[in-house]
């Protein structure tokens, strides 16, 4: 993931989500939330949607059409899911539950995804040995 793929222009998730160089280590697709509790204002970027909504409000279309267009404009709101996960880690129980219901984070219950991924990688490595033993 290069710089061009980061709409927020933030360095935070870059450092946390990817290794710049392959480390020969199995890494499950799990994100570890950071110590820093971001401001709730950092979680979304509404620049584009706000601009669209402003234009819609000033327009002469009917109120029903405005309502529709405003809903549609929110599709342009950019969510920063790394910061959202950081925020979740510091949120209270009620906020956490609402965030989960809205699929703003995914919980890896019982480490099924993480441990399963390690096992999967090890099993494939074992099969690699099996499939290449005559050739090596």
């Amino acid at each position: 993931m290069g710089k061009q793929n980061d709409l927020f222009g933030s360095d935070i998730e870059k450092a946390d989500l990817i290794d710049k160089k392959y480390t020969a280590k199995i890494k499950a697709p799990i994100y570890i939330p950071k110590q820093r509790n971001p401001s709730i204002y950092e979680l979304v970027n509404t620049l584009k949607s706000d601009s669209l909504i402003e234009e819609i409000k000033k327009s002469n279309v009917t109120n029903l059409e405005k309502d529709f267009l405003i809903e549609a404009a929110r599709r342009h709101t950019v969510f920063n899911y790394a910061l959202i996960a950081d925020y979740y880690a510091h949120a209270n129980k009620e906020m956490q539950e609402l965030m989960e219901k809205s699929a703003l984070v995914i919980i890896d219950f019982d480490k099924a995804i993480e441990y399963g991924y390690v096992k999967l990688s090890e099993d494939i490595a074992d099969q690699y040995i099996e499939d290449t033993k005559d050739a090596e």
């Binding site: 793929n5 799990i30 959202i84 996960a85 949120a91 956490q96 984070v105 099993d123 690699y128």
Partner: protein, 282 residues
């Protein structure tokens, strides 16, 4: 042989060139294979002649009426219909799990060696065993689908793909379950539309980087979706995903020798993070 599992090869107009079929056999696949074609395929008799009872035909218009194609065109030369039809076909045949394969795979390859180092050396992979390992992981996690990686993921070497959040994509070799049904959307670029659109709402998809497929060069293979791509180029194709997720997908130029427009996904703005349970307050 794997239990309760089958392989579907999705194909159209290439009865003499279903490359994946032989590739599966070459890699020792012993499970059931079905050739999935649609009822608008003029070459259907040839498929039946060659593959007999392995051929399963579905009604393209019926599937079209049950999904969001994302436009108001009527050109159905696209794979989205077969992708969606497979769930119903699997159910009808009595399988819980299945893998959807395109028809142009020339090889299955390891991308990590036993020391977990990137490799591009070709070995004879036992695909029965690999499918079994992938299926076992899929059964233990709540993902909608997982897939092997593809050669293009490793252009320029490993390219960080093993650790990148880009692994949340899912293309080509969809391992699915009729118990975790989902709908592919958007006439073309349906795989990207789906993992982006459903992924942004919490639907989980994953690419397993350790193993990959190799394919015939894009748009070099007659039949399939080649004609629809050649008609509209990648310009129209790429915009489907922008329509589904304008907040996190844009269009950029890709490639150097033959530059073409391609979608570009801002992953950290597309899919919610998977986080450890310990973070959750009780």
């Amino acid at each position: 042989m794997l239990n309760d599992f089958c392989a579907f090869i999705l194909t159209h107009g290439r009865p003499d060139n279903v490359i994946t079929y032989n590739t599966l056999l070459k890699h020792g696949y012993t499970g059931p294979i079905y050739i999935v074609i649609d009822n608008e395929d003029k070459t259907a008799p040839k498929y039946y002649e060659k593959y007999g009872a392995k051929v399963i035909m579905f009604d393209k218009v019926a599937v079209a009426q049950s999904i969001d194609e994302g436009d108001n065109f009527d050109d159905r030369r696209a794979i989205i219909y077969a992708r969606n039809a497979c769930f119903g076909i699997a159910k009808k045949l009595g399988y819980t799990y299945f893998i959807e394969l395109d028809d142009d795979y020339t090889d299955f390859r390891y991308r990590l060696n036993s020391n977990f180092e990137y490799t591009c050396v070709r070995w004879d992979m036992n695909i029965d065993k690999i499918f079994g390992i992938l299926l076992s992981y899929y059964q233990s996690i709540p993902f909608l689908s997982i897939a092997m990686s593809q050669g293009g993921d490793f252009i320029g070497g490993d390219n960080g793909f093993f650790t990148s959040i880009r692994r949340r994509k899912c293309m080509n070799t969809f391992i699915c379950s009729i118990e975790r049904g989902f709908i592919f959307n958007g006439r073309i670029n349906e795989d990207v539309n789906t993992y982006v659109n459903l992924g942004s709402r919490g639907g989980l998809f994953l690419t397993i980087p350790c193993v990959s497929i190799e394919q015939v060069d894009t748009q070099a293979n007659k039949g399939g979706m080649t004609e629809i791509y050649l008609n509209s180029g990648t310009y129209v194709k790429s915009f489907y995903t922008v329509m589904y997720s304008p907040s996190s997908v844009c269009i950029r130029m890709m490639g150097t020798h033959h530059p073409r427009l391609h979608h570009s996904i801002a992953w950290s703005n597309t899919v919610p993070m998977i986080i450890p349970e310990e973070v959750k307050k009780r």
